[in-house]
Subunit: 331 residues, 2 copies
DNA sequence: ATCTCTTGAGAGAGCGCTCTCTCCACCCCT
DNA sequence: AGGGGTGGAGAGAGCGCTCTCTCAAGAGAT
């Protein structure tokens, strides 16, 4: 009751295994009638090539590891960026018939597991989603002689192609919007400073305040709603007079809005709020959130293409995608 | 520059390939000194077994397909249930050293792809996340002689083990809460009626209204925020006097809250709202959402264990997990 | 001392496929 | 009519591993 082999197909079609293989792999050097006979045999037998045997000889696996190196599992579940990126990358790879092996690398133990797996030749390449600065994975993987690309600029300056959005420019645009609408005391809830996105968005904030002669008021969160709520309360204690806050991602902005509401501040009348990411939920907050949109799905798709380029022997340059200010009611 | 083989390890350790293989696979019939020699050789050479060769002979791959059959890609990205389930299943499989191959089956074309892939022997088993009733995948896969388990009860009565939560009981508890707090006109925003969760939650709603002599007022959404907002506007037109609404998931409840706000209704004073799922965002709505909590992560983990049982030859029974009413401010 | 039994290690087949090499047959050119 | 060229098909090696079978050597029993 085991699955039919190429041998069986060849026998049924009355040809050699080599010819059957040619048909399966779409080579054109097979006479039409023989090709048809083989195809019929394949159909009748329900033949499907054995992938292990195939990749044993071709040294290819046609699968790609998608490594999500995210220590905070909560963030992974709640931040739609991750699932959007995963979905988009997955769909893009589907078009070239490659499989996605999903690996969550949350702990040091799983890092070792990922490294072992990848060096085991299970996959042809690696896509890395890691915003974490201290993450040893980018450099570890780049040493493995396996094609690696990254979603987001790796924190350590390692030589792997990546796709990122313009975090600094986006943050600047957001804060500039607050300045231009006459806000005087503009605080920020920054992301984790060991994440590249967290750092860059804070840099953008600082750039604009410096140039426009405002004072900076900073609290730091970890990109969760909860941390946004906590940071907002902190900011209100630090400077009760603040009239605007630039929040490094929408999830924290949602938490911040709640804290502002609980503190009796009206948004945007008393305090303007600008987020970052433009997640779907941003349209449904009270009031709807002004935020920076960046194309997560495109970014993931671009990452896939970068990897495919690498397979072709190309040496890919980093890609930076633009962000766009979406003005709603919160600022 | 190619990777070392077992042959090389054996040569370096001065033993046969068979003995080296025994050490690699942890068999105990190897003398300690020889074992050490082999381990040293492995270490020095940086040997990692070739997975293709191994699974060619063992007929195992140690990877599991996680098939997410979700036509609405928007829902996949925005509903944290999916990522929570994926993360939890992934972590559970990690403990038994199996890999997750993620497959998104959104279109008919990708259905064929999934079937082909799975019948290609790439994976040892399949976990199916499919809430969609008309989905041909459960029955198709169960025909493939591959172990299959499902997250959520399959719509068609096919003989595959599954883990689900008590949708009917949960909905009943939610609606009963509305009845008991004195609401008279209790509407519902139901989920898609081609999804089992959508059906069951509507059934629960109807059960309670029938028993307590209330009239049912139904609108149907598709589990997205947007559809919740649309459905709520519809309900308000249908029955401006309604004073409560049971919404089949939290995402739609978020949309419903927005529509209620825009219509000038106060929650819960004018209209009470009960959701379903208890996603993280439910704590951050205005007002925070009363909802039914069910253990998504546990459900996914239980699904994994069901599959592992199947590998052991066990014949697993469906598992139903309880839901819990979480009372916040919206009802 | 001989025989049986156990333990530990090697030989070698074979998993299912790809791909190079070889060969055959036919066509065109001179 | 003969020779070189070309297209199409087969033979067979080998990818790296596991696992059965076989065998050698030593322990224990008679």
């Amino acid at each position: 009751m085991r699955r039919p082999t190429l041998e069986a197909v060849a026998a049924r079609a009355g040809v050699s295994r080599a010819t059957a293989s040619r048909v399966v792999n779409g080579q054109t050097t097979v006479a039409p009638d023989i090709r048809d006979a083989v195809l019929r045999a394949i159909d009748e037998l329900g033949y499907v090539p054995n992938s292990a045997a195939r990749s044993l000889v071709t040294q290819r696996t046609d699968s790609i590891a998608l490594v999500v190196s995210e220590p905070g599992t909560r963030v992974f579940s709640e931040d739609p960026m991750f699932s959007t990126a995963i979905r988009s990358a997955s769909m893009e790879l589907e078009t070239v018939n490659k499989q996605v092996v999903l690996m969550l690398a949350s702990s040091a133990k799983s890092h070792a597991r990922v490294e072992r797996y990848i060096s085991g030749g299970h996959v042809d390449g690696v896509m890395l989603i890691s915003m974490h600065g201290a993450d040893p994975l980018p450099s570890a993987l780049s040493r493995l002689r396996v094609p690696v690309v990254s979603y987001g600029r790796p924190a350590v300056p390692v030589q792997i192609p990546y796709v990122d959005n313009d975090n600094i420019g986006g943050a600047e645009a957001g804060v500039r919007h607050l300045v231009e609408t006459g806000r005087r005391r503009i605080a920020t809830i920054a992301g984790p400073q060991d994440m590249i996105g967290g750092q860059d968005r804070l840099t953008g904030y600082r750039n604009v305040l410096r140039d426009s002669d405002h004072r900076s008021i900073v609290a730091v969160g970890d990109f969760t709603r909860e941390s946004g709520a906590v940071a907002m309360r902190q900011l209100l204690r630090d400077d009760p007079e603040l009239d605007a806050v630039f929040v490094a991602n929408d999830l924290m902005a949602v938490g911040a809005l709640q804290s502002l509401r609980q503190a009796g501040r009206r948004v945007p009348d008393d305090v303007a709020v600008v987020g970052f990411d433009d997640i779907e939920a941003a349209k449904y907050t009270e009031p709807p959130l002004t935020t920076l949109r960046h194309p997560v799905a495109e970014q993931a798709a671009a990452m896939v293409r970068l990897l495919l380029d690498l397979f072709e022997g190309g040496t890919s340059e980093p890609v930076i995608l633009p962000t766009e200010l979406v003005v709603r009611e919160s600022a």
